[in-house]
C-alpha cells in the first residue's frame, strides 16, 4: 500500500482512513467512487481503465475530480497525485481473453480537469467523450468510440475497432482507426493526419498540411488552404475539395480506387497524372486530354495552369483519377 499525497476528499464512500493511507484501493463491484486532487493549471492527467465509458470535461478549478461507478469486474483503483499531475488507474480482474472479447458494462466515470491539462486516456473496451482540453490530448483504445469537441493543442486519437468523431478541434491532429470511421471538423490546425484501414473518412479541415491513408476505406473531405496534401489509398474512393496555395504540393495515389479532386478555378499548378495498368484519367479542369501509350496500358496527362507554381501529382495503377473545378 502506498500513500496518496495531497488528496482532497470529497465525500467518497471509501473509508477516509483507507483513502488517506493508500494508493491502491480495493473496489467493490459497481462501487461508487469520488476522488479529487489539487493540481497546477497545466497538470498531466493519466486515466487508465479496462471497460466502460468516460466523460472528461474541463472546469475552472485547478483540481482533478473523478466520480462515478466502477464496473463489476473492477477490483482495485489507484488515484495518485505526483509532481506533474494525477494518475487514475482501475485494475480489473483478468480471465483469459477477457480483455479482447468480453464487453462488460464496466466503469462509468465523469472526470473534471483543468482546461490546460495534458490528458492521456487509455482503455480497452470503452467509449470516451472529451471536451474543451486546451493543452494536449491523447487517447488509446482497442474497442470503443471516441468523441471529442473543442480541443486545442496536440491531439492524438487512436482506436482499433471504433469510430472517431471530432467537432471543432484545433491544433495538430493525428487520428488512427483500423475498423472504424473518422468524421467531423478540424479547425485552425497546421497539420492533420488521418489513417484508417477499412473505415471511412469524412472530414472538413483547415489544416495546411494534410495526410490521409486508407486501405479499403473511402475518403470525403473539404480542405481550406493546402500547402501539402498526401493521399494514399489502396481500394478506397476519394472525393476531395481543396484550395491549393501558390507553392502547394499535392500527391495522391491509389491502386484500384477512384480519386476525385476539385480545385479552385484559378489554381496555378503543374499537373502530372498517371494511370499505369488500365488506370483512367478524366480532366474537367482544362481542355487537356490524357495520352495513351501506343503499346501498353499506360496513360498520362500533363498540363500547367497559370504560372504553374504549385504541383499536383496523382497516380493510380488501375483505378480512376478525376480532377474538377469547384
Amino acid at each position: 500500500m502506498k500513500r496518496i499525497p495531497n488528496l482532497t476528499k470529497t465525500g467518497s464512500l471509501v473509508p477516509i482512513t483507507l483513502l488517506c493511507a493508500c494508493l491502491s484501493l480495493p473496489a467493490l463491484a459497481q462501487q461508487k467512487i469520488e476522488e479529487s486532487a489539487d493540481t497546477s493549471a497545466n497538470p498531466t492527467v493519466e486515466i487508465e481503465h479496462v471497460s466502460g465509458k468516460a466523460h472528461i470535461k474541463v472546469w475552472e478549478k485547478n483540481q482533478v475530480h473523478i466520480e462515478g461507478t466502477l464496473g463489476k469486474k473492477s477490483e482495485t483503483y489507484q488515484f495518485e497525485k505526483h509532481a506533474s499531475g494525477v494518475r487514475f488507474e482501475v485494475e480489473t480482474q483478468r480471465h483469459r481473453d477477457d480483455w479482447k472479447s468480453g464487453y462488460d458494462k464496466g466503469d462509468d466515470l465523469l472526470i473534471r480537469v483543468p482546461r490546460g491539462s495534458r490528458l492521456l486516456y487509455t482503455a480497452v473496451n470503452a467509449d470516451v467523450e472529451i471536451n474543451d482540453i486546451a493543452n494536449a490530448t491523447q487517447v488509446d483504445l482497442v474497442n470503443g468510440d471516441i468523441k471529442v469537441s473543442r480541443l486545442q493543442g496536440k491531439t492524438k486519437l487512436e482506436t482499433v475497432n471504433g469510430d472517431i468523431v471530432i467537432d471543432d478541434v484545433a491544433g495538430e491532429l493525428m487520428i488512427e482507426t483500423v475498423n472504424g470511421d473518422i468524421e467531423g471538423a478540424h479547425a485552425n490546425g497546421d497539420t492533420g493526419h488521418f489513417i484508417t484501414v477499412n473505415g471511412d473518412i469524412d472530414i472538413t479541415t483547415q489544416a495546411r498540411e494534410l495526410r490521409m491513408d486508407s486501405v479499403n476505406g473511402d475518403m470525403e473531405f473539404v480542405a481550406a488552404q493546402i500547402n501539402e496534401l498526401d493521399i494514399v489509398t489502396v481500394n478506397g474512393t476519394v472525393d476531395g475539395e481543396i484550395n491549393l496555395t501558390e507553392n502547394g504540393n499535392v500527391s495522391a495515389s491509389s491502386v484500384g480506387g477512384k480519386i476525385t479532386l476539385a480545385f479552385q478555378p484559378e489554381v496555378a499548378a503543374r499537373f502530372e497524372l498517371q494511370g499505369h495498368a488500365g488506370g483512367n484519367i478524366e480532366n474537367n479542369l482544362t481542355d487537356a486530354q490524357a495520352s495513351k501509350a501506343k503499346y501498353g496500358p499506360t496513360k498520362w496527362l500533363e498540363f500547367t495552369t497559370g504560372n504553374g507554381s504549385a504541383r499536383v501529382e496523382m497516380s493510380t495503377v488501375h483505378g480512376l483519377l478525376e480532377i474538377n473545378k469547384h
Partner: protein, 180 residues
C-alpha cells in the same frame, strides 16, 4: 523456286509493324522530353532516397524499431536476415534491382514482425483479410513496375503498401494492450 524467290515470298509474309514486347514509349519519351517532363525534383529525390535507404538500412536499423506511420521502420532485422549485402556496394540500385530489393527487404521485415507478433492475440478478426488485400495490391503494383521499373510513382506506391502492411500488423498486435 530458288532461294531468292523463297526469301522474297517470306519477306512479304512478315508483318509491316513489329510491336515491342513491353511499353518502350515512356522510356523514349523520357529521353526526348525536357527535364520538366521526365521526373520531378521531388520524385528524383525520393528515388535517390529509396536507393540510399536500401543501401543503408541494414547498417542503421536497431534490433527493434517501433513502427509508426511517420517512421515506417523495420521492427526486427538482424544482419543475417538482410536480403542483400550493402557493405562495399556504393552503386545505387535502380529499376528491377531496386524493386526486387525493396520487395525482399519488406518480406523479411514482415515475416520477422509476424513471427514476433504470433504469440500475441490479435485485436481484430479481419486483419488477415486486410493483409491479404494489401499483399494483392502489392502484387498489382509489382506487376505494373515490371513494365516500368523506374517509375517513381509506382515505387512510392509500393513503399506505401509495404508500410501499410507493417502498420496493420503492428497496430492489431500492439504490445501495450497486453499489460492492461
Amino acid at each position: 523456286m530458288d532461294s531468292k524467290s523463297r526469301l522474297s515470298k517470306l519477306l512479304k509474309q512478315l508483318p509491316t509493324e513489329k510491336a515491342p514486347e513491353r511499353d518502350l514509349w515512356q522510356g523514349i519519351e523520357l529521353g526526348l522530353e525536357p527535364p520538366e517532363r521526365s521526373v520531378s525534383k521531388g520524385r528524383l529525390l525520393w528515388l535517390g532516397s529509396a536507393a540510399a535507404l536500401i543501401l543503408s538500412v541494414g547498417l542503421i536499423t536497431p534490433p527493434w524499431v517501433s513502427f509508426t506511420p511517420e517512421s515506417a521502420q523495420s521492427p526486427v532485422q538482424s544482419p543475417a536476415q538482410q536480403p542483400f549485402e550493402p557493405r562495399g556496394n556504393t552503386e545505387p540500385l535502380l529499376g528491377n534491382a531496386l524493386v526486387s530489393s525493396l520487395s525482399k527487404q519488406h518480406t523479411a521485415q514482415l515475416n520477422a514482425l509476424l513471427t514476433t507478433m504470433q504469440s500475441m492475440p490479435a485485436l481484430t478478426q479481419n486483419w488477415q483479410q486486410q493483409l491479404t488485400d494489401l499483399r494483392q495490391a502489392e502484387t498489382v503494383i509489382t506487376r505494373a513496375l515490371k513494365q516500368d521499373p523506374n517509375n517513381t510513382a509506382l515505387l512510392q506506391m509500393l513503399q506505401n503498401v509495404h508500410q501499410q502492411q507493417l502498420f496493420l500488423v503492428k497496430r492489431v498486435h500492439t504490445p501495450q494492450w497486453q499489460r492492461i
